[in-house]
């Protein structure tokens, strides 16, 4: 357990070092920045291990973490950077109650994540199977992809291997803390991102609603931990927030960090690549509008590792994803798929009222705010891709959908939450009912 925690700390230190070297100082406090340290740290460590394997450098944890620790020390010594640890949080009594509940929930899920060994199927067959194989082999052997029968990217599996390197053995119980970390970081990122648009108390309430959603909680630590869906949801969310920030503020640093996160997003799961394409289209449109053409160069940071990965896949002749072997669109499935999607959205056991309320607020479009359009573009663009997957799947689409849609929606749930938070915040602020307004203002 201590080894795993140490591994996660090294990941965070790596991200911190990278952000300081790149001089990215767009946040108010260290706590607000931590999710971004973690996000970039995972990408750096995974990419480093991938490159080490390609050029034949062994994977001792000190060889991976060593350069970062030296840079970290140099940054601390030579780079003046003062940032307060905590931001000024103005919470109402309700907000304080939700803060307490959120902390309780995080402790509960953290405890759940390490009480049982890995039991999620997808992790046995893909994510932590690869971590175990890479750890035992000490490098990435191309033939292993045929054995594992998976063409998924390696960022999550290599981070698992890094944790094993730090522990010194395969421990498929304590490694689940890594997956809990994504849950924790997503909670922190959600709160601080929403806070700017909704106020602290409402942001704390929505963070609670998200963290308490049964499907999210299960992937954070209870039985389903070990899969990459929550991690992908985390990267989708922070990339979306950074992209939004860039569009509003035109800060280059936001775009730079956004592109780094997008690059990692595509290396988490195959589904990440379509999200990256949608985001890059939005970036290109924005650059054309503002005529800041140099900004487009940051996209290279995102595109280069992705292109390299796809070339590597071709070179080693990695087995193709079953969806892409002979894609045919079966239009006749549209009706039944819409029905199944709706069923999943209204599954209250898994999602509580998350998607039901999202659909309602979207249909009514009460906010009429152009502010949140970017989030809608990203969410609906990606949702359309998921719909397309079930239109082309060669296996029974209903069986395929029932076994996977609940995981795909995890990727989009954080973005849906921030959209709802902004809309409900507008309602709370602008409602015409005086009595209601008085009570809501007291609460939030």
């Amino acid at each position: 357990m201590i080894g795993t925690i140490l591994g996660i700390i090294i990941i965070i230190i790596t991200g911190y070092t990278l952000l300081r070297i790149l001089n990215i100082d767009i946040f108010e406090s260290i706590v607000e920045e931590i999710p971004y340290y973690f996000a970039t740290g995972v990408g750096c460590i995974a990419l480093q291990m991938y490159l080490y394997s390609r050029v034949g450098i062994p994977w001792g944890w000190y060889l991976i973490a060593g350069p970062w620790l030296i840079l970290f020390t140099s940054v601390l010594l030579f780079k003046k950077y003062s940032l307060k640890l905590l931001p000024n949080l103005k919470l109402t009594r309700v907000g304080k109650v939700f803060l307490f509940i959120n902390i309780t929930l995080l402790l509960f899920v953290g405890f759940e994540s390490v009480i049982r060994p890995l039991s999620a199927w997808d992790s046995w067959s893909i994510w932590l199977l690869k971590s175990k194989i890479f750890f035992i082999d000490g490098l990435i052997k191309p033939e292993i992809f045929t054995y594992v029968e998976s063409d998924y990217p390696l960022a999550i599996s290599l981070t698992g291997t890094f944790i094993y390197q730090v522990i010194g053995r395969v421990d498929d119980t304590s490694v689940l803390l890594l997956f809990f970390s994504f849950y924790l970081m997503l909670g922190i990122a959600l709160f601080f991102s929403m806070r700017k648009y909704t106020g602290s108390t409402l942001a704390m309430t929505f963070t609670f609603l998200f963290l308490a959603t049964q499907n999210i909680l299960r992937h954070g630590g209870r039985y389903e931990a070990g899969q990459a869906d929550l991690a992908l949801g985390f990267y989708f969310f922070i990339s979306a927030v950074l992209l939004y920030r860039y569009i509003i503020t035109k800060e280059r640093k936001s775009l730079l960090l956004c592109n780094i996160c997008l690059g990692i997003t595509a290396l988490i799961k195959n589904e990440g690549i379509t999200f990256v394409i949608i985001a890059q289209v939005i970036i290109i449109i924005q650059v054309l509008k503002t005529k800041k053409y140099k900004d487009i160069l940051f996209s290279l940071l995102c595109i280069v590792p992705i292109v390299d990965w796809y070339i590597y896949k071709e070179v080693i002749n990695m087995p193709k994803n079953f969806l892409l072997i002979s894609p045919t669109i079966y239009i006749g499935r549209i009706g039944i798929l819409l029905k199944e999607f709706l069923k999943e959205f209204l599954d209250l056991v898994r999602w509580n009222l998350l998607w039901a309320l999202f659909i309602l607020t979207t249909i009514l479009n009460l906010s009429k705010s152009r502010k949140i359009l970017i989030f809608y573009y990203l969410l609906f663009g990606q949702l359309a891709v998921y719909f397309l997957i079930y239109l082309i799947t060669p296996i029974n689409p209903i069986e395929h959908l029932r076994s996977s849609l609940n995981r795909l929606l995890i990727h989009l749930a954080p973005i849906a939450i921030i959209i709802m938070a902004i809309i409900i915040s507008n309602i709370v602020g602008k409602t015409n009912n005086k009595l209601l307004k008085k009570h809501l203002k007291k609460l939030f």
Partner: protein, 163 residues
Amino acid sequence: MRTINLYKKIKKNCELLILLLFLIWILFSLLRTFLNVTKVYSEERFWVNYSEVEKKIRLFGDIHIFLTLLKSKTALNDYITLYTDDKKAHYYAKYVLYPRKVKVIEIEKDKIELPIDNRIFSTYFAKSVGLTKNLKQMLKNDYELIYQYVSPGGEIGKVYIKK
């Protein structure tokens, strides 16, 4: 003018509906969180006292015991064929047994192609599906039974080694 008033009325009602659902959502989530946290006492406290092996047996059942035994009977560089009717066994065997390479043949899904090259041949039946005639003959001619596992639940696992 009437249309505008009607629109305002609908909008106001919709806002109220959304706020009502939002509050119901909070209440449901609070209740759910309370139930989840109480599980620490009602369900999870038992897990704290189990060893790692006991936990795995509780979670995965006999297949875990069988694979642990198979692991102990084989070398790290062995190639193993696992003939099974248990879907769970497919990926779990690959996960547990690595670095041994496992070729899994799922009875309902895959066709078995004889002869088998791998040094170790193992069978694991959760639903008592027997061996085909050809397979029985091959095992009799080329392999020797080295271990048999029978669980209280009736699952049967056998390990054969090439003569």
